[in-house]
Assembly symmetry: C2
Homo-oligomer: 351 residues x 2
């Protein structure tokens, strides 16, 4: 089975569900002679909902996802003429790997009912970050924002490093850097070693009060990792002004990020390593020490820029599904393709 | 005003309110020729309630504290004959420093009404840890359990270092050590540098499952610092078996604890440094590197064992109040003695 024999235009839906909302992209299925997509193709259009999909103890609320997704997708189809057929859907979601049972159980039927689509991929957001950055090429991707995760594959299995959250890891990510900066601010206040007067001054201005008030401002919040990560630009600013503590924090972050990349790179002579996510917006202050660390820890790494973002990565996955050309490992945890939808079956033992 | 001219026996109440409940001690006021208590005196008796005092946005719930304290104190007085007069009360409480407004506003009148007592001290638990360990002597105390705080004084002002909680500091405390141990377990799982197979094996046994399940077990909890600290004995066990990563974690913890002690030691030729709190139950695995670090960072430090615990520290404070002999700084934050109760007035500006 390759392209549908249906004469209507074929489309795929890529979906990116995260803490800041739901983004949906509609893209045409490419012609059959481009059967193995390795890069994100052209998107027809994108819809964005700023309302994050609710999550509960069973993971993402599948009903709430469909409530938003169906009208958004139908509106996108309407914009391109309305007579198209959706041939595959790929949904990348934060927390899919550990919290996605409800999604896996309910979504295939719901999508079949809404769009007649029978090809579905559910992916951890790290996987859509991967496919957005590298398509289906082997290599490694580091995705860093508030958190930090590295994912690599040679095509047969995923290697994952970190992404364990702000208390167990995410070493070198935004919350990690922000926390290190606030630690240095409080060390300066206390007169402990490792303090930075510059970081303390920035913390007092940024959080609008003496650093002694930070515990009362941070701990009652439910979005503590985001609060910590919000301090990253101030750490970068101090590093840009040559504050040695801030420079040291970014160098330590680079070390941790390189450690994660080195752990997931497929064991081949060369390895593309793509850096993606908002954290790398810091620029050379982080990228220069990171490339230095990579050259030490992983000399065969070739740092490349990401082709696209996670939404484009979801389109890559959906396109590969539509063309029967999915070339990435379906392990049931990071990437799940329900058997009945026509993809490679997900082994039961890894569910 | 020294001792009351009342012929009834004089008593003081020491109170220790924390996460594990409320403890109350009744102790006789010593004779007037021992006017400056520097050590915890004899306690008549102790009552314990396992029900922690409720806390809300305004801090400790003063009504809930009194509901438990009044019957406990009356029962203790009954045991010693029932005709005694309570001359002073000192309450040490977790979070007093930042969250005690309700306590400060309502407690003086409530205690005057219940016991006729007009001398009251409200102390952060770090202060009762200090007075329990060193009485009113100058020096420094490190209190380490789940968290870690250092407090020092030469008698005129408090110096505090750390105690900023598990995301902003508490460096070297129980949650810090446990987190470092779990980080090493996950590094081993991922194949990242810094991993420890021994810590991973202990984590899998202790938390009853693969380390990949740790995020799902930790993040939904509200007592995350305690969960992290619960892993400390396993880190100590691995260190005792010479796992180099576990040994390194305890050495790094010792470094941080010494940094905090060095920051608060009064600037004199010699300085007693007392180590108190459950974390030091680890023993030499932590104490040996800590004493080494202290000898480097603070050569004039003289490590001493704590005289007593925070409940005994509250008795020291209450006794000093009863004898008009309080010799510690009342800064309104760490140690608050309301003006109308006859103690040294708390400066308004530091409230």
């Amino acid at each position: 089975m390759t392209n549908s024999s249906d004469s209507r235009p074929g489309w795929v839906l890529g979906v990116d569900s995260g803490g800041s909302g739901l983004r949906v992209a509609l893209a045409p299925v490419p012609s059959a002679d481009d059967t193995v997509p390795t890069k994100a193709g052209d998107r027809a259009d994108t819809a964005v909902s700023r309302q994050p999909v609710r999550t509960g103890p069973g993971g993402i609320d599948a009903g709430h996802l469909m409530e938003q997704l169906v009208p958004m997708a139908k509106a996108l189809l309407g914009e391109v003429g309305g007579d198209g057929e959706i041939r595959a859907v790929a949904i990348g979601a934060a927390g899919m790997a550990t919290l996605g049972d409800e999604l896996r159980d309910l979504l295939p039927d719901a999508l079949a009912e809404a769009f007649g689509v029978r090809r579905l991929a559910l992916a951890a957001d790290a996987v859509t970050a991967y496919t957005g950055a590298l398509g289906q090429r082997p290599g490694a991707v580091v995705a860093a924002g508030t958190g930090m995760i590295a994912l690599g594959t040679e095509g047969k299995k995923w290697r994952r490093a970190d992404g364990w959250g702000h208390l167990l890891g995410d070493c070198g990510g935004g919350a990690w850097i922000g926390r290190a900066g606030l630690d240095a601010a409080l060390r300066d206040h206390d007169g402990r070693r490792g303090g930075s007067a510059a970081l303390r001054a920035r913390a007092e201005e940024f959080f609008d009060g003496p650093v002694t008030e930070l515990p009362g401002k941070l701990y009652p919040r439910t979005d503590r990792p985001a609060v910590l990560a919000s301090f990253v630009p101030e750490v970068a600013r101090c590093a840009a002004e040559d504050d040695p503590v801030a420079v040291g924090i970014l160098r330590a972050a680079a070390l941790h990020i390189a450690e994660a990349a080195a752990a997931v790179c497929p064991p081949e002579t060369e390895c593309e390593v793509a850096l993606t996510g908002g954290l790398f917006g810091i620029g050379d202050l982080l990228l220069v020490p990171l490339k230095e660390e990579l050259s030490v820890q992983l000399p065969r790494a070739q740092a490349v820029s990401a082709d696209g973002n996670p939404l484009e990565g979801a389109v890559v996955l959906a396109t590969a599904l539509a063309l029967d050309a999915l070339a990435l490992p379906c392990d049931g945890r990071l990437l799940h393709v329900p058997e009945e939808t026509g993809g490679a079956p997900t082994p039961q033992h890894s569910r």
